[in-house]
């Protein structure tokens, strides 16, 4: 219910602002809806959303897998931490734009370059979070597993992984929002489709209804994924924690 209310307030504010600013600068909700329906009717909306989502999924999975593995290693092995730390600082502070442009220059305007660039932007974030997680592992539980001669895989799966889960969730959560932002820039600069490309095209043509139609559908997809996928997973991962009164 509060969510509906918040949506209604957003819609009303938009409408009023559009009346004040004029339809040319800020199209009213019905104008944008018309553009949205036209774009959906032609199938272009779903094709472009699909292309963007596929890039997000691939880059996100790649960055999380690699980032988690590297972060875990850096948290557990001092030498790995020392070797990796300067790179980590470099990557953390490298502007997303630089990575994307360099990727396109070196690997051409290709899908591989786009996904790699997005993944590299997200990677250090996952590494840092998982490194913290690995450093915070409970040595007492490790000892327990060793004393009971638990097999290595079993220890990792049942003792280590659940301790890392909140860190993975945090990395996924912040990483996903980062990827949502970067994917559009990557598409704008070097892909022939996707939400970022369409927004770029709409900007060139000053087609504000189309620009807003894509931005809002993209925002809607993000909200749906956050609500239906990310939040339930977080709840499931933390179901063993005693609930706050």
């Amino acid at each position: 219910m509060p969510r509906l209310l918040s949506f209604a307030i957003f819609l009303a504010t938009w409408w009023i602002a559009s009346l004040l600013a004029g339809d040319a600068k800020l199209p009213s909700p019905p104008t944008v809806l018309t553009a949205l329906i036209a774009e959906a009717g032609s199938g272009a909306l779903f094709f472009n959303l699909g292309a963007t989502l596929a890039r997000v999924a691939l880059a996100f999975t790649l960055a999380m897998t690699l980032g988690a593995a590297i972060g875990y290693l850096m948290g557990r092995v001092r030498l790995a931490d020392r070797l990796g730390d300067p790179w980590l600082i470099l990557l953390l502070n490298m502007p997303a734009l630089v990575v994307i442009v360099l990727a396109y220059i070196w690997a051409g305007l290709t899908e591989v370059a786009a996904i790699a660039a997005i993944a590299i932007n997200k990677l250090p974030n996952a590494v840092v979070t998982l490194r913290e997680g690995a450093r915070a592992l409970d040595a007492a539980l490790d000892e327990m597993a060793t004393a009971f001669a638990l097999p290595r895989w079993s220890t990792f799966r049942h003792v280590v992984l659940p301790q890392l889960a909140p860190y993975v969730a945090a990395a996924a959560r912040s990483g996903l929002s980062l990827v949502w932002k970067i994917v559009l820039v990557a598409e704008l600069l070097g892909r022939p489709n996707g939400v970022g490309f369409e927004i770029g095209a709409a900007f060139q043509l000053f087609d504000i209804p189309l620009l807003l139609a894509y931005s809002l559908s993209f925002a809607a997809v993000v909200l749906v994924i956050e609500t239906l996928l990310v939040q339930p997973i977080e709840v499931r991962l933390s179901r063993w924690r005693p609930r706050a009164a």
């Binding site: 007492a140 000892e143 327990m144 004393a147 009971f148 079993s154 659940p162 063993w240 924690r241």
Partner: protein, 242 residues
């Protein structure tokens, strides 16, 4: 099945690089079905000794020969349960092959039946300690290590838990090593008592208790206790004098 231990010395360096002696000579042997109890003041190095015996610490001078292929069941001073697994899942993790009937019997004896599906965060310390005991027994151990399993429990609960431990140990005739600072617990459970000095730990005396623990009367227990206390205090006086 026999455990032979000869720890000549164990030292560790603190953060400032200063060397500390923790153990300065602990030698003993234990046979199957025997309960050996180590009694010593808090901080005398008992937990360090346990880590060595459980094969968790290899950095010491001396020799420990464990029975080949022996299954170790261990109860640490803190229960060390996995908070994200239920009571039953915690026990099953270390004993995936244990059959249901045996686990049920174990839960019954330790009065854990009603708590099988609870998470450790929902348990009191006493209950959590019982789960740790259930876990140690579930692996059907040949060698059981108990590190202060009754510490910080109220007297009535500690007494009940002590009886349950005695029952389980006798039932399976497990070689058991109990570490405690409580002389009463030690005298009631052990076949053999080892008195430890303050840090660095060394064995001050070894006492054999010939009567079965199930038939030990209060008078006998009181007599052994006073003997133990006399030896412990005697050592203190001796050390003070030197």
């Amino acid at each position: 099945m026999r455990l032979e231990v000869d720890i000549a010395s164990k030292t560790f360096k603190n953060a400032a690089g200063e060397q500390h002696d923790v153990i300065a000579g602990v030698t003993f042997a234990l046979d199957a079905g025997e309960v050996g109890a180590f009694v010593g003041p808090s901080g005398c190095g008992k937990s360090t000794m346990i880590r060595i015996l459980a094969d968790l610490d290899h950095d010491f001078q001396g020799r420990v020969s464990r029975p080949v292929g022996a299954r170790i069941g261990i109860v640490f001073q803190e229960p060390r349960l996995l908070p994200w697994r239920s009571v039953e899942e915690n026990v099953r993790l270390v004993a995936p092959l244990a059959d249901d009937a045996r686990l049920s019997a174990l839960f019954e004896i330790l009065e854990l039946k009603a708590h099988r599906n609870h998470f450790p965060g929902e348990l009191s310390l006493g209950l959590a300690r019982r789960v740790a005991l259930a876990r140690a027994f579930a692996v059907d151990p040949d060698f059981l290590i108990l590190d202060e399993p009754l510490a910080s429990l109220d007297d009535a609960l500690a007494a009940r838990l002590r009886d349950q431990i005695a029952m389980l140990v006798d039932d399976r005739s497990v070689m058991t090593l109990l570490v405690t600072h409580d002389v009463d617990d030690a005298v009631r459970l052990a076949d053999r008592l080892f008195l430890l000095s303050p840090r660095p730990a060394r064995v001050l005396a070894e006492l054999h208790i010939p009567t079965l623990r199930s038939v030990r009367g209060d008078a006998e227990i009181a007599a052994i206790k006073s003997d133990v206390m006399r030896r412990i205090n005697g050592d203190v006086t001796e050390r003070d004098a030197s």
